[in-house]
Symmetry: C2
Subunit: 283 residues, 2 copies
């Protein structure tokens, strides 16, 4: 778990720092970015994990979301991991943009071909927090999770499976029901095999059905001009599931008129999301 | 001057729109981005031109600066051109990152090899404003100019040569005295030939010496950890020149402790710069 700092830029009074480390879970070298607000120079601070979408690296969110301004305002750290193992050279991992490299789907693969490296679920929920909490001025008892698209799927499923570890959750344009969409079917059938019961443990809609009376206050934004809205994201299914379970009051699901799937959309509403997290992180 | 819209993304209630057009000045096809705030749907709005630095395209500022949030707050448009002609295939134009493609230096080349295409000064001051003012809801009588690094050089020199056309000016990390730094010497000797009197018409420090009693209220930010500060930017020379001319009150030159040359630095202070421009654009 040796790690090293490979870049540091001052930003909004704090610093964006890029680290590289040898990941035990993924059996490869991984990079991640952290925004440490100036308050972290005086002691540990609360943090939001941000999980990115297909094709992204640890950089997209940190560079394009505009999140640093709002995080700095509240003295909150941001932690942005990569989206898959890197440089592991499994046959087929670079054949398509929506599977393999850049498309880890925040699960632990069971198919023998992928099982050694594609363990982003354990990486994000265990290895990375252990590293960050030990090495950086992050208060591991005050963290929350957020994500976009594939990372929205990651954030929601990880929260639902580990609700005691995260203070709250929010998502932009999440893949809400991957067992029923092309991206999810492709990823899950390859990483997890054909048994669809295995798939359901990584599906927000399916996890919700088993969540019982788990208290949630989730914020979800999606653009009405998102090209992936109907086919891949299935936000209507999420909304219907929440309503049918009588949990509509736990979920703020907003359809933002005219917005698409891009970082221009994320940046337009990132301040709302950070404020949502701050409510819980400051408690 | 035919132009077409090639991308449109909703952002902060307005839209980021990318246009492509055949440039007469540059004899090639050019792209630029415009942020049009929602107020532009009701009528013409004021605008800030942002000139980018070496290696950048029309995208860097729009995607990474965080400027949209503050521009939207004030109902101001942002216009982000590219940094050089593109696809013109002049021998040597792609040999280095600091000359040729991505490095137009906002001048009109006189060396025969470059003179046909490398006319970014006329492109930015004449052709692009004419196009934008005619085709878009931009109030051409309320515009200002801002830039970073090579684009900071561009913004300051263009303002000093055309102060009646722009309401105000500001710059991040500008190349303030290009006739006396390696980047400028390389660019100017190639684009303009060996006569250094020609060079001086594109040099902020030299133009200032001839500016007489021109009223200026310029904001300049530079990071003290900028790797280019001493060798390329020459901000001390700018500050000394301003002082020796008795014009210190016209220039707010801030050395920002620990910041570097990156967009993390720009994004940390972009709200200040936009507020500086708004003071004059709203008059």
């Amino acid at each position: 778990m040796a790690y090293k700092e490979i870049a540091r830029n001052k930003a909004f009074g704090g610093h964006v720092v890029k680290y590289e480390h040898d990941s035990t879970e993924l059996s490869c070298s991984m990079k991640f970015n952290v925004f440490l607000p100036k308050e972290s120079e005086q002691g540990s601070v609360a943090a939001i994990y941000f999980l990115s979408g297909l094709t992204c690296t640890e950089d997209n969110f940190i560079q394009k979301s505009g999140a640093l301004a709002e995080a700095a305002k509240h003295g909150i750290a941001l932690i942005a991991p990569d989206t898959s193992p890197r440089g592991v050279s499994i046959q087929g991992d670079d054949d398509s943009w929506d599977f393999g490299t850049g498309a880890g789907f925040y699960l632990d693969a069971t198919d023998p071909k992928w099982a050694k490296n594609y363990r982003m679920y354990s990486y994000v929920t265990k290895e990375l927090p252990a590293l960050v909490n030990k090495q950086l001025p992050i208060d591991g008892s005050r963290v929350s999770i957020m994500g976009h698209s594939m990372g929205g799927h990651g954030a929601l499923t990880i929260y639902l499976k580990n609700s005691s570890a995260y203070k709250t959750v929010s998502a932009f344009s999440p893949i809400a029901n991957p067992v029923n969409c092309p991206w999810g079917e492709k990823a899950f059938s390859n990483y997890l095999g054909s048994n669809q019961d295995e798939w359901k443990q990584y599906d927000t809609v399916e996890l919700l059905k088993k969540a019982g009376d788990l208290k949630i206050d989730a914020l979800v934004d999606v653009g009405t001009s998102d090209n992936f809205l109907e086919r891949e994201l299935k936000i209507d299914t999420l909304k219907e599931t929440v309503a049918s379970l009588g949990r509509a009051q736990d979920w703020t699901i907003r359809y933002q008129d005219g917005y698409d799937h891009s970082y221009f959309f994320i940046s337009s509403f990132i301040a709302d999301h950070i404020q949502h997290h701050v409510k819980y992180l400051k408690q």
